[in-house]
């Protein structure tokens, strides 16, 4: 029977210096890693940088990976931390309101789905990093509470609390589009 090589096998091979196995690992997860970075940062350029840095860091961290969490959880943790550092670094001198222009149409009812989607992404990017990460991981990436707790290395009740507040913020921001 043919069995697709699983992620753990690839990591084990990469740990012995098999760069081919590492390349396959990157190929399998590049979409996920880039996607979460884009959702957290909002800028394709920054997302590309963050994804690249994350994979280099994954490679550096290979010897330390013991298989206590799944490979995808581990990758999420690395890219998420990368994005959090970037958010921290740009805090203060690059206000979001300038990066992401408010729609010029004003607060009338949105008739176009496109506007609503743009408004939602903007609302997500306006959340504090502490709230944004759980919201993106839960609502956009579809991760479980347990996995998010593992990714962020916080408790499940802490995840629920942050998510609860993040959802409310999003609803408040989106009310003009209702």
């Amino acid at each position: 029977m043919v069995v697709e090589t699983d992620d753990i096998q690839l990591v084990r091979a990469a740990q012995t210096g098999d760069l081919w196995a590492f390349e396959e690992l990157v190929r399998r997860h590049e979409t996920r890693v880039y996607r979460v970075a884009l959702r957290l940062l909002g800028s394709p350029d920054e997302a590309e940088d963050a994804a690249q840095e994350a994979f280099v860091q994954v490679w550096q961290a290979l010897p330390a990976f013991r298989g206590e969490s799944s490979v995808s959880t581990w990758l999420y943790r690395i890219v998420t931390n990368r994005c959090l550092s970037l958010m921290e670094a740009r805090r203060g001198y690059e206000p979001l309101s300038e990066r992401y222009e408010a729609p010029t149409a004003g607060p009338q009812r949105a008739t176009e789905t496109h506007d609503a989607l743009a408004a939602l992404k903007k609302a997500v990017l306006h959340l504090t990093p502490e709230q944004r990460v759980p919201l993106v991981l839960r609502e956009l990436e579809g991760r479980s509470y347990d996995e998010i707790a593992e990714i962020l290395e916080i408790s499940v009740p802490a995840v629920k609390g942050r998510l609860h507040r993040a959802r409310l913020e999003v609803v408040v921001a989106m009310r003009q589009w209702l």
């Binding site: 043919v2 069995v3 697709e4 090589t5 699983d6 096998q9 091979a13 760069l19 081919w20 390349e23 396959e24 990157v26 190929r27 590049e30 979409t31 890693v33 880039y34 996607r35 884009l38 959702r39 394709p44 590309e48 994804a51 690249q52 994979f55 280099v56 490679w59 550096q60 789905t113 609503a116 989607l117 408004a119 939602l120 992404k121 609502e139 956009l140 990436e141 579809g142 609860h164 959802r167 409310l168 913020e169 999003v170 609803v171 408040v172 921001a173 989106m174 009310r175 589009w177 209702l178």
Partner: protein, 231 residues
Amino acid sequence: MTGREDLSRLPCGTNIANLVDQIAEGVASADPAHQADCPDCQATLRELEHVWGTVRTVAREEIVPPRRLIESVFRRIRQELRALGQLVPLEAVIPRLVRHALLGGPRGATRIADSVVARIVAKAARDTPGVHALSVRELAAPKAGAPGRLAPRGVAVDISGHSVSVEVRLVVAYGTSIPALAAEVRRRVIRRVEVLTGLETTDVQVAVDDVFGDPDSLPHRIVLRRPPGRP
């Protein structure tokens, strides 16, 4: 932000945050009897459904990483290895242009290059009665990661893990039922790829680009080929 205070409780006393979690998690109401009769709750739930519909749409959006991402990752790794004083052959850290199917096994993995699969597909298609040839026309949009260099023309394969998606472009013999032929090509390609590689073919896109031997097209071609200066 304005209106935050409006968002704590509805006039009926329901905590809006609980309704938000109810919609976001898709779980049952904590107080179904009240919600069913309360116009405030009903109206708010409708609004929240609307917002969360947008959230779900954004979640489904397809996001494709830039193609140079893998290359830039490996360039960085190569620099790191050099900085560590390790000699690394260039080809060891440049992602291969050829993609492989990867079959895991207890005593080692087997890799099959996509060009190998493409050749098997080409042969299976050509052997189907009614197929005159593979089309030499370039594929309009090469599949992601398709090598091109080694693959026969008229065939593209896209390998992912141990499944493969195939596209073939054909020139068919005039008089053959094209739908029946396409079905037969599909059947043969799937069967031969499975027997020879163990890979599962998820889909076979068949394009018919030309027919061969159409008698009606002959006079047209003769006119075109008539040497100049003769009636």
